[in-house]
Amino acid sequence: MLFKLSLNNIRKSLRDYAIYFFTLVIGVSVFYVFNAIGGQAAMMRVNDSQYNIVYLLKVAISGTSVFVAGVLGLLIVYASRFLMKRRNKEFALYMTLGMSKGKISAILLIETLIIGIGSLFIGLLAGIGLSQLMSALVANLFEADMTAYKFTVSGEAIIKTIIYFAVMYLVVMIFNSFVVTKMKLIDLMQSGKRSEQIKLKNPWFCVIVFLLAAAALGYAYYQVGWNSKMIERNQMILYVALGCISTVLIFWSVSGMLLRVLMSMKRSYYRGLNAFTFRQISSTVNTMVLSMSVICLMLFLTICALTSAFTVRNAMNSNIKNLCPADFEYYTSLVPDEPTEYNSFTEMCEKNGYDLSEDFDKCVDVMVYTDNDLTFEKFFGDTLKKVQADFPFMQSDITETIMTVSDYNAVMDLYGKDKLTLGENEFIMLCNYKPMVNFRNEVLGTNNEITVFGRTLKSKYDECTDGAVDLSADRTNMGIIIVPDDVKDDSSIGAEYFIGNYRSDDKEAAEKIVLEKIDQVDRDTAGMRNADFFVKTSKIEICTAMIGLGAILTFLGLYIGLVFLIASGVILALKVLSESTDSIGRYEMLRKIGAEENEISRSLFRQTGIFFILPLLLGILHSVFGIKFAVYFMESFGIEKIFESTVITSAILLFIYGGYFLVTYFSSRSIIRDKR
């Protein structure tokens, strides 16, 4: 009997439930899709180091999933509370008929169960379908071979999704029962009588609040956007809190001023249904201050997360081409005073039966020097304190790296990049790590003379030259001093770079052979050189790590972004839909006094549009400064692709948020038309 009642309730209020159900389905499928990524990637032909990345990705997504589950859980509770409110009359009827609260709870329980199981089932089906699409993206990100790909279903992800959502539904059930026990019959019966009072806020007070909030926001924007490097963690929390509070206050004050402003425009106010439209908007905005603020902040996070993730990923891909111009690098850190059997890596290999030219068609072997008298402290002088404030790990007695210009040009020749020329007593500062570049430029601008191995050199330029010697994934060259060839001291060689390109076109196979042979040499010569450590770097290795990191960032950005977007869309949709249901009478009235159907639709379109656009506008404004702040941290990766990333982010935003807007508009239109 109760079961039948529940089932009929769902059938009857299908429209109310539709958006709830829709949300659950999307939630379930997104949850599944992302948790199934591990399995997807495993199906593809990825190399060993990529397996590690895939594992890392799985771990990262698992962690994020807990957070996402929290957000979705809150959303579901919100949505279900919303539906409960709509049904007060129904509950009142049950109670007047003498049904116990326990039974009402039972009805709700069965309903939640039916909806829950239904949404899980459909959501999982949709998720399994979508994850096949996602595979294409995974393959693209990992640059993997898709030919071996088969239709996959991740049992692990299914079980995980079911468990997480079961817990969420359980919370909803407990919450619902709690609400039911608190219900009072008299409140339920009177719930339909809306005698909502329109409280017009004091306009001057609103203006003052608005100005204060705008000023506070401006201050936070300035601090975050232009003072990025001065910010400490505590300050950051302060600015974020300031931003959040200002957001709420801005929506509060705008909701108070909006109508006044519109009313003052007499001619447009009394045109067509405008008066009605404006009133509807202002009364709804008044009740939506908090949810709009939350939505605005979620949109802000979404935009920042997506844009940053894409920027970093895109930058990484282009960095590889730019910053990894050769296949292989063998870096040896040397201790100058200790005895050694071999003078160079090439010599070491040759004497141990490995002719490097077998595998490398082009290679260089260069030394870099250190002068114990040329330390960071010497270079920076008074500026050192400022540098150390930004880079606390930097000790003042670390020596600068010195390289001769012909060695440098040899490397550039291999890289196919521009060479440098140097006068007799000149030097060039080579640096590409942005924050460091700024400090070094400051020094070079004021005092451009240094002493290297007893020779006083003058900087050729009054700023750093962009460049690096290392193979690297990002811009991390803190500084190399390029000096004339005769300014060197062979007794203070600090390190050696062997850099080369493989002879074979099959880079992966070549790398395998090279590494085997070099490992053999390393084992044979252990302890025979004055090296304290050596590092082998290869383009393939860097690429894999980069692609992996890029993929992880992309996925996490997408994951959080999608969930936040859905959440914002749902909160708005539910608000607007319930507002439409409450206003059916008003639209009916408009029709009776002869308003055209398309006028009514336009009014509804405007109302829905305003609710969706207001938080988006402020969210975008927040994001502009948020991204400006993020750029400061992304600089070491490079930010050339930020425009492209913004475009992709906008497309995703437009698709999902815009989609929710359209769905909301069309369903409210059918709600207000239905009663005819």
């Binding site: 005698s195 329109i198 001619r267 106010y269 008003r586 006094i593 308003a595």
Partner: protein
């Protein structure tokens, strides 16, 4: 010359197995400047009749002519135009938009017709004066008494100078004092502004303000009496006589 002509209209609800004849062959006509009351017990079909005239509902058979235009033949968008240009509505539960002030509620009827703001202002003030609601123009519906609300609703109905004002139990939700005041305003509109009013009611006192009363029973025309030269009191007594004849619910509602 008759303004409204109703010719043998029928309105059926339901399907073949259970057919309800809400209106079963009613014909009458209303002259310009008349104040007509339609009386009948609940379920007699009087509200259905009003809905059919106002094009909110469609007749099953028969024709309704307003100024020789066949209302039953109007379709789609033209219906909205017809409603906003030719008709004025007053409802039992006022049907004011609770988000708008009295002024805006009245003005809305004009702004839907795309009248300029200046003209709206003038028209609203004129009609507000005629109905004695000038001092509540800037109030919201929840700040007004029932009588004031109904007068605002009436103002909205007549501000567009409609050919015919349709009122559905306008005093239904009012106390007797407010009812009396509203009806006197109706009389004023009828006599001074020559507004044609058609009012549905089951209250004999309310009906006695009209110049003619049409009685409906079970979807059919039962009787009709004109006030002629009678005083309102005498006319009221006549109505009571018919109501007694009608029997049923209406007599309970006296």
């Amino acid at each position: 010359m008759s303004l409204l002509r109703i010719e043998n209209i029928e309105k059926y609800y339901g399907n073949k197995s259970s057919l309800t004849k809400a209106i079963d062959g009613i014909s009458f006509s209303v002259d310009k400047g008349e104040f007509i009351s339609i009386m009948g017990a609940s379920g007699s079909g009087k509200t259905t009749l009003l809905n059919c005239i106002s094009t909110i509902d469609r007749v099953t058979a028969g024709h309704i002519y307003l100024e020789d235009e066949d209302v039953t033949a109007i379709k789609g968008k033209a219906l909205n135009r017809f409603r906003r240009e030719k008709l004025g509505f007053i409802f039992q539960d006022f049907n004011l938009l609770d988000t708008l002030t009295a002024y805006e509620n009245i003005g809305l009827a004009l702004s839907i017709q795309k009248r300029p703001a200046a003209e709206i202002e003038k028209a609203v003030h004129t009609v507000a004066e005629q109905l004695g609601i000038t001092d509540v123009l800037n109030k919201y519906p929840y700040q007004m008494s029932g009588g004031q609300k109904q007068r605002v609703a009436s103002a909205r109905a007549i501000v567009t100078s409609p050919k015919l004002v349709l009122a559905d139990e306008p005093t239904g939700a009012l106390d007797s004092k407010s009812s009396k005041m509203l009806l006197e305003r109706f009389n004023f509109l009828n006599h001074e502004l020559d507004t044609t009013i058609m009012m549905v009611t089951h209250d004999s006192f309310t009906a006695s303000y009209a110049s003619r009363v049409i009685f409906i029973k079970d979807g059919k025309l039962f009787h009709e009496i004109s006030r002629g030269g009678d005083s309102r009191k005498q006319f009221f007594d006549k109505i009571i006589d018919v109501v007694t004849l009608l029997g049923g619910d209406v007599s309970d509602a006296l």
